[in-house]
Structure formats: C-alpha cells, structure tokens
Amino acid sequence: MKIKRVFAILALLLVLSCVSISEVSAHRLVIDREIGEIGVKAYFEGAGPCQDANVKVYDEEGNLYIEGVTDDNGYFGFPPKIGMEEYTVAVDAVHMPGHKAETVINLSQASVGAGAGSAGGIEMPLYTRIIAGFGYIIGLAGAAMAYVGWKLNKKYKGR
C-alpha cells in the first residue's frame, strides 16, 4: 500500500515537472492588444473642472467622430480611430454658457506621449501673466502721461 502511494506521488511529480519544463522551455510571449483612449480634461483656469460639458470630437476631415459629456472631473475619453492621427476636440460648457474651447490633438506629435496636450496656447504661470498685465497697464499709463505732458508743454510754450 505504502509503496503504491509513493509511486503515485512520484508519478504525479514527474507529470508536474514535465508540464513545468515545457512551460519553462517554451515561454510563449503573448501580446494582448489594447488601444487605450485619448483623454481630454476640461477645466476653468485657476478654478475647478468643467463638468457636464458637451464634447465633440472631429476627425481630420472635419466630420463629427464622437460626442459626449465630461464627467465630474471634467474628463472625457474616447478611443482613437485606426489610421486617424489628428482630432479636433471642442468643449462647450453647459453650466457656463458662452465658454467654449477647442484644441487639436495630433497623435504623431511628441506631446501626446507625455499625456499633456496643450489647450489653447502656451501655459504661463498665473502670476507671470498678472505681472505682464500690470506691465502693459503701466506702459499705457506712461504713454498717456507722456502724451498729456507733451500737450501741456506745447500749450505753455505757445504762450
């Protein structure tokens, strides 16, 4: 009885090892294909996400490809169309009528890899732009002052 059990275990081991050996030697590498989605995120600059906004995606020829609505985080994802490289994404805020933005996503361009496609121009930090704005205002004020000064000068020189 005992010897039978030992043989059984040995046989089982042999089978198991055979199975595992075949696995080790072959190691078939399988690639499951999964094409992810192109994600866009809409938000109001310096404020929260743009929720429930209507998103329309157009392909290279300007045909409507997909449309949908952003989630609570302002996110909207869509599967890419095989062979299509450029998409135009238009976002129209529902809760804030009059706010619309559009961006072009080009898959062959490097920015996609980083996952940070631009949305409407170069992003400068907010404070830089505030300072820039002040600069312009001071510049305009200076120009106006120079003009007034020139006028006053002319007025009094004429006398």
Binding site: F44, E45, G46, A47, G48, Q51, D52, V94, H95, M96, P97, G98, H99, K100, A101, E102, G120, G121, M124, L126, R129, I130, A132, G133, F134, Y136, I137, I138, L140, A141, A144, M145, V148, G149, K151, L152
Partner: protein, 215 residues
C-alpha cells in the same frame, strides 16, 4: 463675463464692436472737452488694474464658476472713462489669459461697460437728489451697494441677452447666468458699498469721473 470665440453670431459680434467703438470715441471726446487732467491717468490705470485682477478671483458654486467683476465700482469712480478702462482690461485678459475670445472683446466690453455706466448714472443721480438721506456717507454707501449689485445683475442680463440673440435657448441661459451671479451680486454690493463709504469719508474727490465733480 467672458464669452469665447465661436459662440456668438456675426451680427452680435459686429454690433458689439460698433457700440464699443462709439462709446470709446465718446469717452475720448468727452475727456478732451473737459481737458484731461494728469491725475486722472493714474486713477484710470489703477482701476483698470483692479478690474484686470479681480476677474481672477473665482468663486466655485456647484458646477459653475463665477468671478468678481466690480463693474459698478469702476463706473462710480471713473464715470464714462470706465468704458475704455474695461476695454483695456478685457483686451489684456483676452491676450494674456485667453479669457474670452478676441472677436468677442467688443461685445464683452458692452456687457460689462454699459452696466458700469448705468451704475455711475444711478450713483450720481442718487447723490445729487439726496434720495436716501442727507447724510452723505450713509447714502453714498447705500447707493454704492445698490449700484454695485445692480451692475452685476445687468452684466449677467446683458451677457445672457447676447447669447440669446445668437440663438441659445432662453431659459437655460438666463437661469444659468443670472442664477450663478446672485452670490456675486450680494458680495459685490457689500464690497462696493464699503469701498464707496470709505472713499467718501477719506477722499471724496476720487469719486466722479474726472475728479472735478464738485459737491
């Protein structure tokens, strides 16, 4: 409010630019006639800067996100010159922050500038007629609050009007814009009321467009 490019119809955009051009021309003519005083320029610049920055103060309310406007304050302090000030502020915002579109600067200036001028008229008339009380500080504060709050309401109404004129659905837009601005209205009424009370007490000559409204 900053309406983006591509939302409004061409006639509305054109009308916005025409009205803006007329008002700026009027403001320039008027200030020429009165004679530009040198001290007006810093005042104009400071108020433009205030308007430029205050629009960045966002108040997130539910899914919407509104910001302060202070059109009433600009109107009360600058008079008709508030219009060019708002125009400059909006131009800078459009180019630096992409707030609103380039083509919509005209109509956006109308939406903010005309309520500012209405606030000015209400304030000046009210002060002249001594509508509320003979105590100047008190009545200036209350009038400032009314003009400040009303200007926000009018900005919202004008913006909704521009959108409706371009074919948006009436109720949705009106509710979304005017409703979202109710808190701004209340806060701005309080803020403008206090600022005007303070200015009347400390430096009353600041109020009034060219600083030469004698009282």
């Amino acid at each position: 409010m900053h309406i983006s490019d591509g939302v409004l119809s061409a006639p509305v955009l054109a009308a916005g630019w025409i009205i803006t051009a007329v008002f700026i021309a009027l403001a320039i003519r008027w200030s020429k006639k009165k004679g530009i005083e040198v001290e007006v320029i810093p005042k104009l610049s400071v108020m433009t800067a205030v308007f430029f920055v205050v629009c960045l103060v966002h108040i997130p309310i539910g899914p919407t996100c509104v910001h302060f406007i202070l059109a009433g304050l600009l109107g009360i302090i600058l008079g008709i010159l508030a219009y060019p000030a708002i125009f400059i502020g909006l131009v800078l915002q459009a180019f630096l922050f992409q707030f609103g579109g380039i083509t919509t600067i005209g109509i956006n200036t109308v939406n903010v500038g005309i309520p500012a001028l209405i606030a000015y008229v209400i304030f000046q008339r009210g002060m002249k007629l001594e509508l509320l009380s003979s105590r100047r500080e008190f009545s200036a504060g209350v009038l400032g609050a009314i003009a400040g709050g009303l200007s926000v309401f009018l900005v919202a109404v004008f913006t909704a009007g521009a959108l409706i004129a371009s074919g948006e659905k009436f109720t949705g837009v009106a509710v979304a814009i005017v409703g979202a601005h109710i808190p701004v209205m209340i806060i701005e009424a309080i803020v403008v009321g206090f600022i005007i009370t303070f200015l009347v007490r400390v430096k009353p000559e600041v109020i009034g467009s060219l600083g030469c409204d004698k009282k």
